[in-house]
Symmetry: D4
Subunit: 209 residues, 8 copies
């Protein structure tokens, strides 16, 4: 397989009919299914067609696990988010990482303005093999996390904010300019992409993904 | 006096001759003198004319204290900076705050990627009446400081950085989107403006500045 | 308390259910409540649950004062706005400042194109301990106010305008480049943040906020 | 004549040789000469070739008046500038307006942070037939002037400033969003263009320019 | 009167009730009424209250002429637009100019890609005392017009276009960089502002506006 | 050959030594040579090494024609430029088009503000098989040309201008939003790229380039 | 005919009534009809009026071929698109190119992340006389195609994407900076414009379009 | 150790004296030394002080290996660059990765416009445990590489280009919008940061870095 996971369906610009067809094909090949950016209405329609599916409303993801997810990682992926409004994006990352065979642990609502909550969970950070940090507004959290641990940090800016946040641009720039080494960045709101990259990092180098 | 300090000379677009004239006038009225954005060459020329002056090379400031600076603040201004490259801007703030009659303490090189250095000095933060935080790159430090203390924080973005720092824009946006309440922001590299505002904040409300 | 006021609820990305829960918790601890960015529909639902609450439609704020607000400031906060369309943001500032224990006075609709209305109220400006200036379009008002008084001025750009106002960016840039010293700036439409900072400035330096 | 004044030489991207040739041609036809954006070195070279010329160092303009400038306006053009650093641009406007046959009066260094200097000269504003307002930083002056008088105001943003002034963009946006009606805007630093337009406005409608 | 026309109501952010009140006040003082940015629904409601009013649907303007408009201009204002989609903005300019007492003539749908239509009407251009040029997309029309005539040209960029037109920014920049002297610019879609400035230009210099 | 012309050397980021080596190799294979973006100093050094070369100072191009250029086009490429400052970019286009085997004719200094110069040469436009239009500032010329003829127009924005021209961005946006169909655009100052594309268009479809 | 095809109706800002009128006029003159940017509702209304028309829902185009389309090209136009979401824009290009008399072939869903699909169809690329490449997100496909063939490539960025795609700006910039020579670019989502230019390129140079 | 490698000196804003001091300290602790962004002049001065150092002119790095670099990776890091102008940034990545104990292989000058060079080296890509892809202009290379392999790809945009490359922004946006999953991005020109992150990824999860 080229990309390590059968195919992830990007639901944003697809009709229910188009997704139905791709899902049928994937199921026919014996694969598990992950569709992202599936809004509530499309989610309901697909649940109706595939009662075996799970629809994750907040994260707008739909999954079907017709076979057990096979554990493939050499360690644990930790997903951290700064505020409650970042949860949908963090959720997309969690669901993606899990269905790709990774152990995932989460640490939510630990924004930079309340550092003690983060510092209280240092041991969790140290136990990770990769860390995904999801944050909007000023996007400062990845720098703080990256300064505490020697693990790869994947930063996900979110479009949370208003005014001069410019739909996530402030957070994106903050992350690209992180003063902590070891931080790399994905597109605004791209929880899926962060988890996909984290999953590749978490593989045994010898394994076929 | 309209603006609380006789007149601050913005040296960037002034010739040595023009500054000389303004300085003479200020001295003639018995005032102390502060000139900012005075580059090395202009500084040397002015030192030659006014041997009693002090030229602060790194901060590009020139000061003349012909009378003792009168203490006017009700508390202490603490100036914090993230990295060594932010020092010139932090220095401009320190010099401005001091000549305007404030007690000033500093905490330099305490970037977000090395939080322990900042956390080790919490008591200094708590002792401030206003805090100026100078930072470039992702501009995350004011949020961390603002989350630790209940004091007004004035954030100064610096033009330090490269690539997607866009000459200080990334830091500026980070600060405007700070998730810690109580943070206000001044223009990129405007150490003077931050100190001026901090000085107004630090006055007894009844005092004529 | 870390941030001087129990907790302010940012209502924009929260459901009525989430807000209800937080409000219950705050009330249970004997606190007063402030929620900002609460749209009309959510406001109505919350009023239904908490008949004792006040919903400020124009400013999209909800407040519950189960105990008298304790006066805490050493002076007065004056809130100025340029045009009628800036009123919602100015209102958010007023409500925030009041519930945090400050005496607040207002001066609305005194735009730069009609200076006489502002100049006629100079004595009000002089009586302030901090001034919040709310303005959209070209954002010139804080400079004019800052040039008249020696008090800290907190400038709030608003998203009012069209075309090249770019949702408040023109006003934001105008304020960051203010030619009057003593002006600091918060995010576009952030009336809450301005009032929070003003409130910290207005405290007795010795008081625990 | 197509554009009302023989031809104005934009010196920025021309060599001394190229300008020399154009000047010769203009003089040969009996015209007066105006060249803008002529830096010091080119200015010196041209003064050497044309000793009868005047080189205006600060404004980077070179003029040759081989015949008396003919008065053509129906009123007076007033040129106002906010700060000393805006003087070169204001100067370009003054020189252009004068050589095009207009009576010009000036009011310099009347920035928005020191309004009293402007208000003290209201009668000058009222006596104008067109007003050119030159300002950098936040570009607020045209709004104030436009609010005081019922005359066409042409606003010229300048590249004066640093950080978030973005080379004049902050001033430009401020002027485009002016809350005073009757204000129109030209390009950053375009003193020439403002004066050219003012000159067209100041003509008798029947006159051939 | 400060601004030469009693008061123009900017309807965008006003309720029907608010506008009703202002209109009543204006009518009570014997004035004519102009309200801009009045959408269809508000327009219908106001027509119901004031059957004597005219609602200009395409231009979103409402006018009431309870007394004849007094001719005040020394010449004619010509309003030119590039394409059919620019008509609402051009219409706002026409209505504003007319109710302010100017003779107005129009030349619509003469875009730069079909120059012959413009060139065929040169005599109309020459007969103007001021020209307003409304154009979206690349905003090239003001340069062409400005190159043909020696009259003040006020350029109005419109938000017409898609993709890299960025809501009128492409047209705005084109106009600010016009290679024809004598062109000044107003905000995107600001037909009102262009007409107001044109009206000031078109006055006898001695008249009280 | 993959790209139709042996290899064009982009001189901007290459040392004289690096270019010398590539030129030797090209000459060794019997090819003609074109190097673009060769500044004066590098040009002089290369002329010293290859006295047979021609250095085109204004266009910063170096060419060596060791064999006659073979005519390959099915028609003529016309290169038009708006102002004298656009000449270097236009020159790069001309040199590139010629050495690639095309007949080239030029029409320079025909800006939009002086349309008659362009209209006087319509027959030249009609005789072209492709037209390259080079313009800075507002970039309006390609629309005018595209409206006159039914030939492919390649628009080249130049970085000529100041202030809100933003180094060619205003012209680029103007061209992308052209209201004349048939216009395509290349990067700012990319005379080479325009000529390369024009050359591909001008080929007989059956010819191997 | 000025522009080679009778008239193309840009439906975005036109009412059904306006389009109906233009269509009637075109049909009356014996022309075929192409309308672009016709949304579903308008499309249905027009189909009702003109049952002979074809409405292409995905591409939002409406066509009426009352006479056979006359073949006019000297070769074939190949339209390539990167992803399924780019199909509407690619479709607009295909329909435009066909009704203008060109042979068109398509190659869809051959994004850069799955190169083998593109490489498998090299012979199709080689058979084209012009290639239109439609791509969103990073806009890399035109560079790859341009590197494989020696034919003119017209790149169409699409607004497909989210976050830092900025509505097609990322793709647009990628295409303007293409490292393959021979690529020219049109506005975001402008499938029509690409096909129009391709059609001009594909004409016999001697033909009247 | 906090960051896995003793300390990397960012030379850009440091004086020779400052760097000398830090290097002495590092050597005193027995560490190897890496300094980045050391320009030629500073490099020469430091070589004079530390004759044992290596100065890498093109990449502006200075290294001192006083003890053998200990191999620490579980696989190989492959560094790919698109063009010769990207070499300095790619070199910074190579030097950083090597001194941090990784096996590094390189593949330079394999731009997207000449895909065959990349496709010819597929086996090298497959042998990597992490791939760093350095590219300027349109930044398309990481998407192509990411589409070929199932390994983590770290994309480094470079400031190479002109015009609409905006100093690396076009490449940065292209990379953030990559259509290949598994790609993460660092700041423009940040070869060091990419290599640091790659090095963390390449560690055995159990190892102390
Ligand atoms: N939320 C997401 N954000 C970005 N890319 C995604 C997302 N979900 C899926 N994808 C990618 O989109 C590809 C499918 O695109 P498509 O063929 O348009 O459905 C998948 O292979 C993923 O690489
Ligand atoms: N470094 C600085 N940044 C911003 N404003 C400054 C600075 N230094 C001085 N100023 C302000 O500039 C004013 C003087 O401006 P000028 O009249 O141009 O010299 C002073 O009154 C200060 O308010
Ligand atoms: N369409 C318009 N665009 C810009 N400004 C306008 C417009 N219509 C009215 N105005 C201005 O808005 C002012 C009234 O603003 P307001 O007090 O908010 O109603 C008037 O005096 C005009 O100067
Ligand atoms: N999808 C499109 N994008 C850009 N321009 C178009 C499009 N469709 C038609 N046009 C152009 O718009 C012109 C008609 O514009 P209008 O007069 O506003 O209908 C046509 O002659 C075409 O050149
Ligand atoms: Mg780390
Ligand atoms: Mg705080
Ligand atoms: Mg003040
Ligand atoms: Mg006025
Ligand atoms: Mg003219
Ligand atoms: Mg044409
Ligand atoms: Mg090619
Ligand atoms: Mg991959």
């Amino acid at each position: 397989l080229r990309q390590g996971f059968p195919e992830v369906i990007f639901g944003e610009s697809k009709t229910v009919g188009q997704m139905e067809q791709i899902i049928m094909a994937l199921l026919g090949k014996g694969n598990n299914v992950l569709a992202t950016r599936v809004d509530g209405e499309k989610g309901a329609a697909l649940m109706h067609k595939f009662p075996v599916a799970s629809y994750h409303r907040e994260s707008r993801c739909l999954t079907i696990e017709q076979k057990p997810v096979e554990a493939k990682g050499r360690g644990k992926i930790v997903v951290i988010s700064a505020g409650t409004s970042d949860m949908p994006v963090a959720g997309e990352a969690v669901i993606t990482a899990r269905i790709m065979g990774n152990e995932v642990e989460t640490l939510f609502d630990v924004g930079v303005a309340g550092l003690h909550r983060l510092l209280a969970r240092k041991e969790l950070l140290f136990s990770a093999s990769v860390i995904i940090v999801v944050a909007g507004m000023e996007g400062a959290l990845p720098s703080v996390v990256g300064g505490l641990v020697d693990k790869p940090v994947i930063a996900v800016p979110t479009s949370v904010g208003y005014g001069a946040s410019f739909g996530g641009v402030a957070a994106l720039l903050g992350m690209l300019n992180s003063c902590a080494a070891g931080v790399t960045v994905v597109n605004i709101d791209n929880g899926f992409g962060a988890a996909y990259a984290a999953s590749l990092i978490n593989r045994e180098s010898s394994s076929t993904i």
